[in-house]
Amino acid sequence: MTASPELQREMLRQMQTIRRFEERASDDYHNGAIYGVVHCYIGEEAVAVGVCSALNKDDQIISNHRGHGHCIAKGADLNRMMAELYGRQDGYCKGKGGSMHIADFSIGMLGANGIVGGGLSIVTGAGLAAQLEGKGRVAVCFFGDGASNAGSFHESLNIAARWKLPMLYVCEHNSWAANTSSRMTHARDDVASRAAGYGIPGVVVDGNDVLAVYEAATDAVARARAGEGPTLIECKTYRWRAHTERPGAADPRPLEEIAAWMAKDPIQHLVDDLKQQQGQYSDAEFQALDDAVMSAVAAAVAFAEASPFPAPEAALDDVFAD
């Protein structure tokens, strides 16, 4: 299914929001307002947005350590996200989690996760619950090429395939896991081919083409809702920034490789598509969109700054039910 012009504009807004939000988060990390670990998704925006555009609000997703894009694409509130990065009371996790643990259960975002491969089995449980409840909900896992080498990947796909769970396993194949190239660690570099072993479809898409991602996701969601079981979608993409924002962190990736992928900017790709398809999308329109996004990000920072730090005693709350 192709996306309507309105939906395409909404996708563009979301992708630009992810990018501007993270540019700000990165700046604020380097100036000390944000600490801990921040992993940026810039360059991969089309994956989260393309997939989540094919979902309903009550469908559920799970994320990994690189979660800002998944949150924004599922409809999370920028203010509460930024407040969490700032470690404030009004953050999604009341300052307990930080970047690596943002979750919004009210919109079906089951959490970023600090354990690589951790999300795969958990979200398989959400798929199982969706099947038990029978309301047509689907569950989606976002994970990296690196995570595809964890045992939980294989165990989850086997169970989901065997039980025909309503699921999408979306591999964000950016060719690197921290500082190691996937070529050094994968028996076969592509991940989608593994689907054959479990008897489910394994689809490869250009992860920098949001419309292609959307189409693949739409098909997989239809399959899942029809009771035909899970799909593995491998999105070929690339992160523009180093693995993490740690100051002085090494980035062993070749500069030419980074440059080649930056030339395939997913946002520019959609802008070009819009211009071409409709002949009416103008730079001025994009500028207006970016202005709106920038003020939303500025408002999120203002919200975060105005939010108090949590009271120290709160460190002991939320461990158990009251």
Binding site: V37, G87, K96, G151
Partner: protein, 325 residues
Amino acid sequence: MSVISYQEAALQAVAEEMRRDHRVWALGEDLGRGGVFGQYRGLLEEFGPQRIADTPISEATIMGASVGAALVGTRPVVEMRFADFALCAVDEMVNQAAKARFMFGGQARVPMVIRQPSGMWRSSAAQHSQSLEAWYAHIPGLVVVAPYTPADNKGLLKSAIRCDDPVIYIEHKDNWALEGEVPDEADYLVPLGPARLARTGNDLTLVTWSKMVGVAEKAAALASLQGMEIEVIDLRTIWPWDQELVFASVAKTKRLMVVHEAVQVGGFGAEIAATVAEHMAHVLTAPICRMGAPRAPISYAKPLENQLRITPEQIVATASRQIGH
């Protein structure tokens, strides 16, 4: 003697042992780029990709394969990157590595070192900050080591690599840059087991390990200004632990405090406190005191994270109550 960092000390230990014994090799994620903390820097160049093996993110199989490679005669150094990630491989450590020698009636041995950088570091939150030494101390068959000084990190890591049993080797992530004097001789070893007397004093025995040794030393310096002399014991090997040194110190000071970064409940401090109580209750002039973190996962925001940390001031306040008792 040279002044080097905790990280450099560990690097030298692995390099020296790899030169000395061709059966020693290391594996883990990102080792080819020097490891996440630079603690393997340059080793790929010297030893090549077979002995400095870059693995996929497959902790369970990294650990299980190391157990197998150890069973058949090699000596793996397994890098788990963060102690938290080793939890993906608990079966291989606890059901397999720890038990093989015993279950197979002494036929098998599992000479491997499992490096687990631990502790609170740069506000890394609940899944990247844990101190779990007590879990491993609970498992028969595992040796558990937690060095604080650069010299110990070198000497104990070398001993761990030469040990014929599986060693859980806990380095504190906040210690990598810590500098100290380290002997230069190639056969500098610190034996597994004996504790280190970090500071002498007559009023109170404080037993601790890992990064908390530094905090305890600060506390002891502050206490001294107030006329209280705290004896600080750096346990450095958690299992087997040095009862002899601890008992001798308590016999002198007649008071015991145990401090660790890990959660206080069920922490290894409880084992030390109970053992001293069993054997030395009659000499104690004050109740034994334990200090550890509250039983809560570790938070991200600084005010929350700080709530879980033990400070020198808290130690001094507790010590003065104990000494005044």
